[in-house]
Symmetry: C2
Subunit: 369 residues, 2 copies
Amino acid sequence: MACDCSASSAYSINTKDEKTKSWKKLVNVAVSGAAGMISNHLLFKLASGEVFGQDQPIALKLLGSERSIQALEGVAMELEDSLYPLLREVSIGIDPYVVFEDAEWALLIGAKPRGPGMERSALLDINGQIFAEQGKALNAVASRNVKVIVVGNPCNTNALICLKNAPNIPAKNFHALTRLDENRAKCQLALKAGVFYDKVSNMTIWGNHSTTQVPDFLNAKINGRPVKEVIKDTKWLEEEFTKTVQKRGGVLIQKWGRSSAASTAVSIVDAIRSLVNPTPEGDWFSTGVYTTGNPYGISEDIVFSMPCRSKGDGDYELVKDVAMDDFLWERIKKSEAELLAEKRCVAHLTGEGNAFCDLPGDTMLPGEM
Amino acid sequence: MACDCSASSAYSINTKDEKTKSWKKLVNVAVSGAAGMISNHLLFKLASGEVFGQDQPIALKLLGSERSIQALEGVAMELEDSLYPLLREVSIGIDPYVVFEDAEWALLIGAKPRGPGMERSALLDINGQIFAEQGKALNAVASRNVKVIVVGNPCNTNALICLKNAPNIPAKNFHALTRLDENRAKCQLALKAGVFYDKVSNMTIWGNHSTTQVPDFLNAKINGRPVKEVIKDTKWLEEEFTKTVQKRGGVLIQKWGRSSAASTAVSIVDAIRSLVNPTPEGDWFSTGVYTTGNPYGISEDIVFSMPCRSKGDGDYELVKDVAMDDFLWERIKKSEAELLAEKRCVAHLTGEGNAFCDLPGDTMLPGEM
């Protein structure tokens, strides 16, 4: 019976001989879509200590489906065979009300892939239902301060659905992953300017994780100087740069025949590390967050990617002193309009009445089926 | 034309603005089978600094095939998008004489998988030819002190073929990967004893990476005490333990539908780290090495997994003071006999005359096609 597999503990080791270690309290990390390729990269990074630190023991709580439960057992075996000293527990299951229990982090990767010819609205509905259910489960059983990172697409609106279904968890705790977009944007600026990656800072992705996303070259810096002072090719910045960032996943799937699981996993690591480590002085990072009280004039009550800073306590604050010009603002408004339309599409899942779907065109990022 | 892709530099960044950093000299790491799943995990670990250290810049030189060159371009793109500050260069190609140039490490993962019904002898011949060619290429163009880790199966005999075709590189520099076997053995002992993984030490895998491999519970320790003092279940140790270790890959492929790419990559990381970091006092690690001058009485001139220690300089020495009993020795002799038979099978590839193949049964590890 399917229920029998639910949260079966694949591996749990007696900790009685470890009392003398001055390690931190165990952190519970739940991951959905745990049998998929993104997770297959991510779980080993979580277990190795590169995300939460080399003194942070971790329990992994893996959510799969009936179809994937055997694969999850295989993943748990491979994690065992990797002998990670920080990995204290791996549990697997198919019931989010069990798997999310006491979760302090929930990394929501699992989502239905878009089938051939499927409209974005249909995908919003199918995946929205998954995230509504997972929001309810988090609300019922997770840590009251659980941090949630939504990766499954369309991730902004999925995050909105999730937080609306989890009223007892602060809306501020929900994130939609736009870090891969940020990383790709930094990469393109570094390549264009001929500098190392780490010379590019203050990179914002504004808006939706879709083709309306806005990589912000007005505020980004290279070697501490405005991008426009370093890259004089304005035509490239205005016409090519954003397209290149957006098409990256599509080019990759053409060449590689797979979606970008490894670099997505790296960007999830980056997103978490940005919340558990203090942001370097003067810099910021991008994450899709709930827009309540935002200083930019973006509509309230959606999930929108914006520039943020963290003290390293898992929380963040919005960066307030960013410049705006017409070119940037017009694009931000377009992404905002799309998110408002997506929100109307899923009103039945957020408890806001009947859905009305008038999505403008197909704005799924290429390579994200 | 295929040749045009050979070692095309997918990405190389100007280093002139980095002269002030006190980082070490760039290390050149070549990886074959770079478009495969093991590499897909390994390359990101190499680039992140977790293998060679956070102060060690790295150049990755990726060897693929005509068929996989596009996929390799995709891998290079994902590595770019990950913004690893230590990753200074990624080059890709299909000619080992170009890709292996100046390589200081060569991680030879690529090999033909065994087709249905294929005999081990046929696999030895097909893959042996690949490793003969790669040995010649290393001999011609790699660093004179290149360290070579052979992962592609049958890895012990492939390593022997490789080193025989690279007479100008010290035979001591060639390794066959038995670290995944060691990790799996440690995991099983930890689970049986109910202790953490890192309480198991001094684990040797003797012999061939095949079903004749010998996980050594006579010398292994748990919490510093002999395994036999901690695990009183001798029947389990003698009859179940070894089988469980050997069948692990097979069980995994049954459950997960894939071979153990992630944990294999972790074990390659462990194998390299064991050579570039000093071995902890009193402990050792297993690696398949050339048997010349071994103190155990194992036949000379084969590649055999044995207990080794390192000063952290990339080199190793054999551990000499290990205990032996009849049970252990008999099993070691059986694995030795198999490796001698494999050697006779590939005499045409090692320059030792005509091959004569009398392999005893099928000893491929389950899950390794």
